[in-house]
């Protein structure tokens, strides 16, 4: 007897499709062997990553660590923004950086040059960071309590959108040298992010980039997206970004009842 549909045929294996609420064999392919059975799984493809992400998030909350996941396409200026951020916030609270790139130590070297601890993860053939790797990196870096942890993801507006790392917020960086319709072309990332940094605003006079249109597109994908426009290179409006970070770091450290930053 077929193990799935109960008909008298036996010894076949093949595809079955749901029909009228019951599994029915696709006749051209055949039936399952009599020891075949249906196993309900109902498990998220990302369940393993999400479990590690939850573990990371729990650790960050317990330690008062404010963690952000910085994402963008390659060349939007994530590392430059990060270096400028570190230079301006140094001494306010401890900071640490996890860098994700397919190859090279270049970005981690740029961060370490500021005196801030950084760990480079080379993802090789993989196009995104995952929560398990972040958990290991956090232990290796010995990220301090009541600190800012920035995870700079692989430059890629597609894949990192799906992988929760345990961060408090995804921050997407878009630069005005890209198309103003990127939020529509890559909606997953703009939907997953809470904050968008529009970078390289000093170049606006030289490029064909409609800021109002870009923001309208971004809010069409994510009505709650918070936007900060700045130039990491010239420092224009960087204070708005720094104020947001300082506020979030203070808040994260206060959530932990036994801690709190007195010097903020």
């Amino acid at each position: 007897m077929c193990g799935i549909c109960g008909c008298s045929q036996t010894g076949h294996s093949g595809k079955l499709t749901p029909l009228q609420g019951k599994l029915q064999p696709v006749l051209t392919i055949g039936h399952a062997p009599d020891n075949a059975r249906l196993v309900q799984v109902e498990q998220d493809l990302l369940s393993k990553n999400n479990a590690y992400a939850a573990q990371n998030r729990h650790f960050f909350q317990a330690e008062g660590i404010f963690a952000i996941n910085l994402v963008s396409s390659p060349g939007a200026g994530k590392t430059t923004l990060l270096v400028e951020t570190i230079k301006r916030l140094q001494g306010r609270f401890p900071m640490a950086v996890i860098e994700g790139d397919q190859q090279t130590q270049h970005d981690a070297d740029r961060i370490r040059a500021t005196g801030t601890p950084a760990l480079q993860i080379n993802t090789g053939r993989t196009c995104h960071l995952d929560a398990q790797g972040i958990g290991l990196a956090v232990m290796q870096l010995a990220v301090q309590p009541d600190s800012l942890l920035v995870i700079e993801n692989v430059g890629n507006l597609v894949c990192p959108a799906s992988f929760d790392l345990g961060e408090a917020h995804k921050v997407v960086v878009l630069s005005v040298t890209e198309g103003d319709d990127k939020p529509l072309k890559y909606p997953d990332m703009f939907h997953a992010a809470d904050v968008m940094v529009l970078n390289k605003t000093d170049l606006l006079p030289y490029v064909d980039f409609d800021v109002a249109q870009c923001l309208a597109y971004a809010r069409q994908v994510n009505p709650n997206l918070q936007v900060i426009q700045l130039s990491a290179t010239t420092g224009e409006n960087v204070t708005q970004w720094l104020d947001w970070l300082v506020g979030q770091v203070a808040q994260a450290s206060q959530v932990t009842p036994t801690r709190g930053i007195a010097s903020l």
Binding site: I4, K15, P33, L45, T126, A161, F190, R219, P223
Partner: protein, 113 residues
């Protein structure tokens, strides 16, 4: 191509279930993929045979069922079809729509022996 990492997760989940539910061969895998999820069904189909090679699901049939995107309009407060993350409300054309479902990607069931 994060579909490859996702398929590696599928293989791991199958291996875990093989131990807990005592089976040694998978003949069919059914995935449910939301219209608003970040995966491309064709890319999953493309990678499936390669990733399952040498595993207990080598040669298994892959079935992908697509789940529709559904949103809640913050303007008119009605439920609306959401074919993309930027689709406006089908009733009042407001762009302020919150996603309710359609971002899922999961293994639904298996046929095993």
């Amino acid at each position: 191509m994060h579909e490859l990492s996702l398929l590696e997760n599928v293989r791991e989940i199958l291996e875990q279930h093989a131990v807990s539910q005592q089976f040694s061969n998978v003949c069919q895998v059914t995935l449910a993929v939301g219209q608003l999820s970040c995966v491309e069904p064709d890319a999953l189909r493309f990678g499936f045979d390669v990733v399952m090679q040498g595993s207990l699901a080598e040669g298994a049939e892959l079935i992908i069922t697509e789940l529709p995107g559904v949103g809640h309009c913050n303007q008119c407060q009605q439920q609306t079809d959401l074919p993309t993350l930027y689709a406006p409300c089908q009733h009042c054309a407001s762009p302020l729509v919150t996603v309710l479902s359609g971002t899922e990607m999961k293994i639904k069931d298996l046929i095993v022996n």
